[in-house]
């Protein structure tokens, strides 16, 4: 049973990884079909199931809060109510009882109305709050305490001014060449920024390869979760 619970998944990971790695080098019809079956069908179903698991876990969490009347259970009740409403209007087979604008996600449905008039404003406004926070944070915390912080500050200020239309108007004539904040910002982005980002990117790519190999060879087993 230990083999079934712990070793067999590692073997499956290794074999799956090896086969799909080998597929990259083998252009045969069978190889393409194997990739097509795995990516266009199996992986999508598994990814969908994992995402549904996430939703079920969230629902379970809020249900427990309501059931045991934990602090904030009223808000959890609102969450569960809204979840139920959306699922009822977007998922249940209403066409069986002749209702045509519910039970699907098409344009003009009740589900679509909820998306346009409730989901979009809520999601967009949540993120728009960050504009205020970043202004406040920049004012309170952005200090040129060291040489590195000063370099960061100067680069940030130049890009902030350079990447708005006003930056083009703020130009200086140096030896007959017009240099604006926009051109300097562009130079910073295309040169030192590109260099540093590429250095980081190369490190990240090597890490991806290393972690992939660790997963395939069973050194990395965190995806299996805890327990026996």
């Amino acid at each position: 049973m230990q083999f079934m619970k712990r070793q067999l998944p590692v073997v499956i990971a290794f074999l799956a990884g090896l086969l799909l790695w080998a597929q990259f080098y083998i252009p045969s019809r069978l190889s393409q079909q194997a990739l097509e079956t795995f990516t266009s069908s199996w992986a999508i179903i598994l990814a969908g199931a994992a995402l549904i698991l996430g939703i079920l876990s969230a629902i379970q969490h809020h249900w427990n809060k309501v059931r045991y009347k934990k602090p904030g259970h009223a808000y959890s009740a609102i969450t569960l109510f809204c979840f139920a409403v959306v699922v009822i209007v977007g998922w249940l087979p209403w066409h069986y009882v002749g209702v045509t604008n519910m039970g699907h996600i098409k344009d003009g449905s009740v589900f679509d109305w909820i998306f346009q008039n409730m989901f979009i404003p809520l999601d967009a406004t949540m993120f728009s709050l960050l504009a205020f926070y970043i202004a406040s944070a920049a004012f309170r915390a952005f200090r040129a305490r060291s040489f590195e912080a000063t370099a960061l500050l100067i680069s940030g200020v130049i890009v902030m001014i350079g990447r708005v239309p006003l930056g083009e108007m703020l130009a200086f004539d140096i030896n007959g060449t017009e240099i604006s904040f926009t051109s300097v910002a562009g130079w910073i982005l295309n040169n030192p920024n590109t260099a540093a980002q590429r250095g980081i990117l190369l490190g990240v790519l090597l890490s991806i390869v290393a972690i992939s190999l660790r997963i395939m060879f069973g050194i990395e087993r965190t995806y299996m979760g805890g327990g026996d």
Partner: protein, 295 residues
């Protein structure tokens, strides 16, 4: 001066919020229409699409959600109008759950656009022949690899449950390799994966519109020409709108362009705030240092 410095350094955050609020609101009410020119990264993306022949197929991946509508949805509209004006066929899809309905809405809005009301700009466009919205699929890179093998296997139906096999567009376009261009409009990290799992594998050119948060990190791909063009943030989108001529198409100043004045105002405020805060910070440090020496 010292007391004034303390007041400034300990300013209530709600005063800063109020100033930001005014910096955004006032330019929207009283537009200054500050002109701007397009950067090379945006021109490259635009010129690539302009160079496509009528009948070419562009795959647009709408990898964004409602939170980035001002940067991404407006770009989506500009790109769609550019494609439809040039009789370029469009296949749109989505890899982000929250944006599934947005891709559908945007495509319909552009394809059925009327200016003036009652006069469709593109009356000959037919769903399934000239454009299609495939909807959302979970899996990210799995989907990219899947469409590299077959569109109809990965997306048996479109967003509104219509079979892809019944659409004339997919009788011709079987897989990603048959597409002429990929344009990724993203708010999350998918552009990098479009490079390795799609563009490089199937040898299809790729351009990207991304939020400003991730724009700086994508410059290595632009420099290596793995991104043929890079339209970063609201400014990039405004430049693209200008190149496409969206104001003439839709009959009003487009959203990203209109927001540039507010963007300028807020940026100048934040820069000034940083400079003022640092000035008083260093004044305070000097004062504290002098006091310590005197003590």
């Amino acid at each position: 001066m010292q007391k004034f410095g303390d007041i400034i350094l300990n300013l209530d955050r709600r005063i800063i919020y109020l100033i930001v609020f005014l910096c955004v609101l006032l330019p929207l009410l009283f537009p200054m229409k500050i002109p701007f020119t397009e950067t090379q990264e945006v021109k490259d993306a635009f010129n690539d699409i302009e160079a496509l022949e009528p009948g070419s197929v562009v795959l647009i991946s709408c990898d964004y959600g409602p939170s980035t509508i001002p940067e991404n949805y407006t770009m989506y509209q500009a790109l769609l109008h550019q494609c439809f004006r040039k009789d370029i066929r469009v296949i749109a899809m989505c890899l982000v759950t929250n944006g599934a309905s947005l891709g559908n809405k945007g495509l319909k809005e552009a394809a059925e656009f009327e200016n003036p009301p009652g006069n469709r700009l593109y009356p000959d466009l037919e769903y399934g022949t000239d454009y299609a919205y495939l909807g959302y699929k979970a899996g990210g890179t799995a989907v990219m690899l899947g469409i590299g093998q077959s569109f109809t296997s990965t997306f048996p139906e479109d967003f509104e449950s219509r079979p892809l096999a019944d659409m004339p567009l997919f009788n011709e376009i079987k897989a990603l390799g048959d597409v002429d261009y990929i344009f990724d409009i993203a708010s999350v990290g998918y552009p990098e994966f479009w490079v390795s799992y799609a563009s490089e594998r199937e040898n299809v050119p790729l351009s990207v519109n991304c939020t400003a948060v991730s724009a700086a990190q994508y410059y290595p791909y632009y420099q290596s020409r793995q991104f043929r063009g890079l339209v970063g943030g609201m400014k990039g989108t405004a430049e693209y709108e200008q190149l496409v001529g969206m104001e003439e198409i839709i009959g009003r100043v487009p959203d990203a362009t209109r927001g540039m004045d507010s963007q300028s105002a807020v940026h100048i405020f934040i820069v000034l705030a940083i400079i003022v805060a640092n000035f008083f910070y260093f004044m305070k440090l000097r004062y504290d240092d002098t006091e310590r020496r005197q003590a």
